[in-house]
Amino acid sequence: MTEITLYHYLFVGLFVFVLGFAGSIVCKNIIKVLICIEFMLTGVNINFATFAKYCGGSSADGFVMILFYTAIGAIELAVALYIFYFMHCKKQSDNIEKYGEL
């Protein structure tokens, strides 16, 4: 068994982030897009946690960043759903192509 190093964590972080980024661009379903944005958030947070653990030293900056980003991400999602609710009332669909009036 190899030891789990910094790079393994970083790889997971990168993988999740790229998954989220690609998904947010490709997905046709609005809910899926929102989930993909959450994936990006997770990827970033994995990175921060890893770095805070391995190279952060005594400061907790990385963990603080995670805390804030999680909170703000949650609010962002709430706002997104709130606005989406208004749009959904009109269109009754979650396909992104139905919403391209502009």
Binding site: M40, V44, Y54, Y69, I83
Partner: protein
């Protein structure tokens, strides 16, 4: 801690108090007082402008464990942002009239966005920067969505998705930078990095950070969405959207490019190429368009790409040109949107063909609008002309490599002239019976006339302002 607050944070503190005040009054005030919400905002912004004079700037002042800083550079940006905020608040009257109940909330949101913009400029670590960006972004979503109808919601949603994705990209870059230097503070990062050779991961991180930040500047990868956002947004909010976030983002981007991100050699070229692509895309896209809002969205993209190109080629001289260009640009842009705000509520719409003959019925308003658009196109006696020459001289100073870029930009200016002409020429056509005499509010007229006057005055005598910009750039 308390000392720090009184030394540099009084303007922001004042704004915060007024935000709370707005929300409190909004809860208890009877509906007939809702039209006075604007005045509270105006008083708050004016007070903050006054309080700017109490801020310590000499020498650079770092506060709250180096997370916030203040110098003459931030002070200038704060002043301009607050001034724009003042004008924009004046413009929102017609919009707030449409929703009766919640105008206190609307004004509180606007103030919050301005507060966010102020904090962005004075941030000195990535955590503060990130929170400030979100502080500016959240109210912006609601401001965009506040107008009636479905379109504003769609615009807000699109803006939200773009912002959320770009925030992710930005923070991903930050996380690597944090990994290399184990710090989030700009000054510390710069100190750690300048000791060693820049690594590949550093370049990757800095590109990610820049990409994350430029989404708010409507630069190419995100520019397509910007046009949709512009289409669905009410004009007074658009006046906000096209000035204050831009100012704030450039305020921090220039600082980042001067300090923590200045060590990689390939970043300027990458940014230059993105800017060029944006300039080409935006200018050619606008040729076919007939909607004034879309044309202005493209114009914003194009202008921002010129500024971005110069700010990537870091030097003190270039920085001063960037600041000067931004100053001139926001003033002209507010003037143009003030005019569109007048026409929007006269049911003229945004198709440029509907502006037919307006000049002959509304001499002074039409003239002010024409001068501002001509200024955006870069013609003399307006500040746009001086800004253009000054900005392009910076590209020449940056070396022969960038001369082809400059040539491309200059030729694109001709294309740009074509669509700027489309914005004003119908006004000079023959007036018909349907041509309206515009009924503008005093506040709208005030904003239009004052901003145009500033444009012309800076154009006639730019030296004092340029001197100020150079002073600020030397002190960053």
């Amino acid at each position: 801690m308390i000392n720090d607050f009184f030394n540099i944070l009084l303007p922001q503190g004042c704004l915060t108090i007024f935000i709370l005040l707005q929300l409190l009054i909004g809860m208890f005030a009877s509906p007939k007082f809702h039209k006075y919400a604007r005045f509270i905002s105006l008083i708050g912004i004016s007070l903050s402008i006054l309080l700017l004079s109490t801020v310590q700037t000499e020498p650079q002042y770092f506060a709250f464990k180096n997370s916030i800083m203040s110098d003459s550079y931030t002070q200038l940006f704060h002043f301009v942002i607050l001034l724009c905020g003042f004008f924009i608040t004046l413009l929102t009257k017609k919009l707030t009239n449409t929703f009766k109940q919640s105008s206190y909330t609307f004004n509180a949101l606007l103030l919050t966005a301005i507060l966010g913009a102020l904090s962005i400029v004075s941030a000195n670590d990535f955590l503060t920067l990130f929170i400030s960006i979100e502080l500016m972004a959240f109210p912006t979503y609601f401001l965009i969505a506040s107008a009636k109808g479905y379109h504003s919601k769609e615009a807000a949603f699109k803006y939200l998705i773009t912002s959320a994705v770009s925030t992710g990209v930005f923070l991903f870059g930050v996380s690597y930078l944090y990994g290399i230097t184990s710090s989030l503070n700009f000054t510390e990062i710069y100190e750690v990095l300048s000791e060693g050779e820049p690594t590949l991961i550093y370049s990757f991180a800095s590109v990610m950070i820049v990409f994350g930040l430029i989404s708010k500047l409507s630069i190419y990868p995100f520019a397509n969405w910007v046009i949709d956002v512009y289409k669905g947004t009410e004009t007074s909010v658009l006046a906000f959207l096209s000035t204050i976030p831009k100012l704030a983002m450039f305020g921090i981007l220039c600082r980042l490019l001067v300090f923590p991100l200045s060590l990689g050699l390939e970043l300027p070229f990458i940014i230059a190429i993105i800017s060029l692509i944006t300039a080409i895309w935006a200018n050619t896209y606008a040729i076919r368009e007939k909607d004034a809002k879309v044309i202005l969205a493209c114009s914003t993209s194009a202008n921002m790409s010129y500024v971005l190109l110069v700010s990537a080629l870091v030097s003190v001289y270039n920085l001063s040109t960037v600041i000067f260009y931004l100053l001139c640009y926001v003033v002209m842009n507010i003037a143009v949107f003030a005019f569109l705000n007048i026409t929007e509520y006269e049911d003229i719409g945004f198709n440029v063909a509907n502006f037919k003959g307006l000049f002959h019925k509304n001499h002074s308003l039409g003239l002010a609008y024409t001068i501002s658009v001509i200024g955006l196109a870069g013609f003399p006696i307006t500040s746009g002309f001086v800004a253009k020459i000054y900005l392009f001289s910076a590209i020449v100073n940056s070396g022969l490599v960038f001369i082809p870029f400059l040539l491309a930009l200059l030729i694109l200016m001709v294309v740009a002239l074509f669509y700027y002409l489309k914005l004003i020429l119908p006004m000079f056509e023959k007036a018909t019976v349907d041509t309206k005499v515009l009924k503008a509010l005093y506040s709208q007229k005030f904003v239009l006339i004052i901003t145009t006057a500033i444009t012309v005055l800076i154009g006639a005598y730019p030296e004092k302002i340029i001197e100020l910009c150079r002073f600020v750039a030397y002190n960053i």
